[in-house]
Amino acid sequence: MPTVLFKDVGLVKGIAFDSWRRVGSAMQAVKVYNMREVDELVYLDITATSDRRPPDFESVDDLADECFMPLTVGGGIRTVEDVRRLLQVGADKVAINTMAVEKPKVIGHIAERFGSQCVVVSIDARRRADGTHEVYTHAGTVATGRNPVSLAREVEALGAGEILLTSIDRDGTMMGYDIELTRMVSSAVSIPVVASGGAGRYQDMAEVLREGKASAVAAASIFHFTEQTPLEAKRFLREQGFAVRL
C-alpha cells in the first residue's frame, strides 16, 4: 500500500522524517493509485499535530470521493469526535500516532464506538545507539522513552485493530525495511502489523513479509522516485509465493 504524506499545501516525501521534497498533489495521487488498483492508501497529514491543527475534514472528504479503495487517514486526530467526522467523510480507518502515547485511553473509546477494525495505531520508532528502539511522536520530532513492543501490546489490549510500524531511520532511504523491529513487534501482538519505511526494491518487501512477519507492506519513495510500481511489486510478491491480489 502506498503512503502519501501531506504537508502544508501538497504531498511530500522525506528521508528519516526530514528533508521533505514535494511530490505533487494529493488528489492526483489518489486518482493515479486508484487507476493502478493499489490495495490500500495511507494518507498522513504529518504536521497537523505539531501545528496543533485538527484533521482537514474537507480535504479528506474530497480525496475520499475519488478513492475506491480502503483509505487510512492520520494526522491531528485527538478525539472520538475527530474520528467520527473522518469516517463520515469517507475514511475507512484512522491512524493514531501521538495520542496513542499521550492519551492511550482514546484508542479504547474509538474502538468501542466504531470497532477495532478502523483503529490503526501508527508507531514511529528510531533505533538507539545500543540497538534498542524508541517510539517518537509528533511526526518523529518528540522522543517518548517508550519501547515499540510494549506500546504495541498496550494499544492492542486497548482495542487497536492494526499497527502501522514505521522505522524512522529507514524512512526514505530505500535501504530496506527494519526487519528486526518489524519482527519484534509483529511477534508480540496478534493484530496485523504493516511494515513501513525503507522499501527500495520489491525484494525488500518480500524480506519484511517473510522474515519480519509483517502482514502487509507500505511504501512511498519507491513509488514516488523510481520506475517501480505497486502492480509490479504485487506480481513479484506473488511469484515469491505470497497471497497477493492481482
Binding site: 470521493d65 475506491f68 469516517l87 463520515q88 492494526e162 496478534s190 493484530i191
Partner: protein, 205 residues
C-alpha cells in the same frame, strides 16, 4: 435512473457507498426518511460498527419496520454491506446477544482464530469463491478478490442462502442471498473494479 436509498442510521461509511453507487450509474439518496426509502428502486444498508449498536440505531429510527415493509413486503432489491449483511440474521452476538432483522436464518458470531489465521479483525483483500449462481456475481470470475474488514461472520442456517464463501479462520460466508435480498461481507465500494461490477449487477435487478 435507478434511485438507490442508502440507509443512514448513524453508523458511518455512507459517503463511499454513495460515491460508488454514483460511479456505477445509480442515483444515490442517503436517507433515514420513510418517504425517500419508499420512493427508491433499490435499497442499500451499509454499516460499520457493532451488531447491537446497529440494530439499536435502526430501531430507534423505526427503520427496521420501514425496511421490512419495502424489502419483505414490496420486494424492493436490497443489498446489505458488512454490518448491513450481518443484521439480516436472526441473531447476533457482537456487543451481547441481540435480535437481528431475521430475514435470512442464521447467527452472527465472532471469527475464531485457527492455525495461521490468528489475526482478527480479518482485514484486507481476499478471494470470494462463488458457491451458487446469482445475478449479483454475473459476469465475474470465480475467486475474484474483494476487500474485507470484519471480526464477526454470518453463519447461515440454510445452505441455499449461501452465495459465496471465503477462506479465513476455517472459512466463512462472504455473500448471502434469498430472492431480492442480498448481503455481502466485503466492501464493494472499496473493492475498485470488482466492487463496481457487483454494484452494477445489483442496480440492474
Amino acid at each position: 435512473m435507478k434511485t438507490v436509498a442508502i440507509v443512514d442510521y448513524g453508523m458511518c461509511n455512507l459517503d463511499s457507498v454513495r460515491r460508488a453507487v454514483e460511479e456505477c450509474g445509480g442515483n444515490p439518496v442517503v436517507t433515514d426518511l420513510t418517504e425517500e426509502i419508499e420512493a427508491a428502486t433499490h435499497i442499500i444498508l451499509p454499516g460499520v460498527g457493532s451488531f447491537r449498536d446497529g440494530m439499536w440505531n435502526l430501531k430507534q429510527r423505526s427503520l427496521d419496520s420501514v425496511l421490512r415493509e419495502q424489502v419483505v413486503g414490496r420486494q424492493i432489491p436490497f443489498l446489505g454491506i458488512c454490518l448491513g449483511m450481518q443484521m439480516l440474521a436472526t441473531k447476533g452476538w457482537e456487543g451481547g446477544e441481540t435480535d437481528g432483522l431475521g430475514w435470512i436464518d442464521g447467527e452472527v458470531r465472532k471469527l475464531e482464530p485457527r492455525g495461521e489465521d490468528r489475526r482478527i479483525p480479518h482485514i484486507g483483500w481476499n478471494e470470494v469463491a462463488i458457491t451458487k449462481d446469482s445475478p449479483l456475481f454475473g459476469g465475474m470470475n470465480n475467486g475474484t478478490d474483494f476487500y474485507f474488514v470484519h471480526s464477526y461472520h454470518f453463519q447461515c442456517q440454510r445452505e441455499q442462502d449461501v452465495l459465496a464463501r471465503s477462506s479465513y479462520c476455517g472459512g466463512f460466508v462472504s455473500a448471502i442471498g434469498r430472492g431480492y435480498v442480498f448481503g455481502v461481507q466485503f466492501h464493494p465500494e472499496k473493492s475498485q473494479r470488482a466492487g463496481f461490477q457487483v454494484l452494477r449487477n445489483f442496480l440492474s435487478l
